[in-house]
């Protein structure tokens, strides 16, 4: 896939890059297959669906459910077990924590800004937070809770019954639980990141080195080809041919999880599967083999390790991977030939510009 240089609409460079952008648009029309970079945008409140508007009461109910271990089969796990507030709502592990006696197979992504995403999960199997919310609850290797059962458990808690009555004017059920959980997740939005202040016109919000990094990000490094918009993600799927995580190559628990997911996804050869097929399990489209959703880069300094299998422990490793042109045989990336200085500026931009204030939440009283 050929890509043009990345235009950036930043305060002091806006007129120049508007011109470039226009030219790039023309190129796009004329030359099939050419992709151009998008622009970076400041974060705004997450858009909520019409049938699930945000209310304070609903967010509070969602927060209670998020921290409630009743949502797991053995009562040891809540959503917060793998999405820890102090860890930017990720869990800091290469492969996410799992239901006791089982193994997970993918990294736990941050929930911050998840309300913007068009696709949820690394393979994009859900298209809204409402659709996403119950997957981990019923997943055999995450919270392992039967949904019919958990509905009855929640209905047996008078405080919850009162909360659902107040918020939805209805009894608790799985759909409304998902709506409340989605509302809470949607409330987790980056706060006051230097990039946002910069894009709104505060030229002092970024250091000189971070601005150099921004220019590389949107230019030579071509990061903004896929990492643009408010979340710095195009919400598309690419097969970058990441290496499998060798730490887990011979892990029988992870292999069982992989075969299980492939089996319930209708992958006929699931017994012989020894790698993560990514988006392919959702679409069965050959081009999606080992393709994963473009991650948001916001709060990236707080969400190591990186990629769907946590293969990279540092941003330096991630930058090196992209500089090499991605994994062997991939058709999405080309080598960038960045100097070590350019890589450093890029990292400074990622760390300095995209890190918002810590989201501190008051833990709920679980009924």
């Amino acid at each position: 896939m050929q890509r043009s240089s990345a235009p950036l609409i930043a305060p002091e460079t806006r007129p120049y890059f508007c011109v470039v952008f226009f030219v790039a648009c023309i190129s796009f029309i004329l030359i099939s297959g050419v992709v151009f970079a998008g622009t970076l945008e400041p974060i705004k409140p997450s858009p909520a669906p019409i049938d699930n508007p945000q209310t304070d009461e609903k967010i509070e109910l969602g927060k209670k459910l998020f921290f409630d271990r009743r949502l797991s089969g053995d009562g040891t796990m809540s959503c917060a077990t793998c999405h820890i507030p102090e860890q930017a709502f990720a869990d800091g592990q290469d492969i996410s924590m799992s239901y006791p006696t089982t193994k997970n197979w993918r990294n736990s992504p941050t929930l911050i800004n998840s309300g913007y995403r068009k696709f949820l999960f690394y393979d994009g199997r859900a298209q809204s937070l409402e659709e996403q919310a119950l997957f981990p609850v019923m997943s055999a290797f995450e919270m392992n809770r039967n949904l019919d059962f958990v509905e009855e458990v929640i209905r047996g808690v008078p405080e919850y019954v009162a909360d659902f009555k107040k918020v939805f004017n209805a009894e608790p059920d799985r759909k409304k639980m998902a709506m409340a959980l989605a509302s809470f997740q949607r409330s987790l939005v980056s706060k006051n990141a230097p990039l946002d202040r910069y894009l709104k016109g505060d030229k002092r919000a970024l250091s000189k080195d971070a601005i150099k990094g921004l220019i590389i990000f949107t230019g030579k490094a071509k990061c903004a080809d896929c990492h643009y918009g408010a979340t710095l993600s195009d919400d598309k799927f690419y097969a970058l041919n990441l290496p499998e995580n060798t730490d887990f190559k011979d892990d029988a628990g992870i292999a069982a999880t992989r075969r299980f997911v492939a089996k319930i996804s209708g992958f006929k050869e699931y017994r012989d599967l020894n790698e993560d097929p990514g988006r392919y399990l959702v679409t069965k489209n050959k081009k999606d083999w080992k393709a994963f959703r473009t991650s948001s880069l916001r709060e990236v300094s707080k969400t190591a390790p990186y990629m769907h299998n946590g293969i990279f422990k540092t941003l330096d490793e991630v930058i090196d991977f992209f500089d090499r042109g991605g994994g062997e045989g991939n058709k999405s990336l080309k080598p960038l030939d960045l100097s070590s200085e350019e890589k450093q500026y890029l990292k400074i931009f990622l760390v300095e510009a995209l890190t918002g204030e810590d989201i501190v939440i008051k833990l709920p009283q679980i009924p």
Binding site: R69, D74, G75, T76, M77, T81, I84, D91, G92, Q93, D94, M97, P100, T101, K313
Partner: protein, 142 residues
């Protein structure tokens, strides 16, 4: 693999600066988790806590008494002493005390680390733990 290798390296690299306290929290729904905790303590009596810990993680879920005795043999322990210890549940008082402590702290996941009061849930790499230990050592000097 468990937490053993990372914890070992921390203890080695920060010798004299860090004290390790291990508490037991056998998983309530696993049939052999209690006897496994007994086995770890029985091995500890003979100076091989971590060896037994690692072996049990590797061999899990084969953790019934017969297998544990075989592991004790493989580790070169005094098997009679080891067997007496697990059969008489010599450390059940300590294990129950630890469980009570964990519940009183609202803990549910293992391993959970407390590094000068900072809670870290789940297995962690050496680098991850080292960063926190260094921060805490720095804070302690202030």
């Amino acid at each position: 693999m468990g937490a053993g290798p990372a914890v070992h390296k921390i203890m080695k690299d920060f010798e004299g600066k860090v004290k390790l306290v291990v508490k037991h929290y056998p998983y309530q729904y696993r049939d052999f988790s209690h006897i496994a905790a007994e086995a770890a303590m029985a091995a500890n009596d003979q100076g091989k806590f971590w060896e037994m810990h690692s072996l049990m993680l590797k061999k899990s879920p084969q953790l019934e008494k017969k297998s544990l005795i075989k592991y004790a043999q493989d580790l070169g322990l005094d098997v009679k002493k080891f067997t007496d210890s697990i059969e008489t549940k010599k450390y059940s008082g300590i294990i129950e005390r630890d469980k009570k402590l964990a519940k009183s702290m609202d803990l549910y996941n293992t391993p959970t680390f407390f590094i000068n009061g900072r809670m870290v849930v789940g297995n962690r790499s050496y680098e991850y733990l080292r960063r926190i230990v260094e921060e805490e050592l720095k804070n302690a000097k202030k």
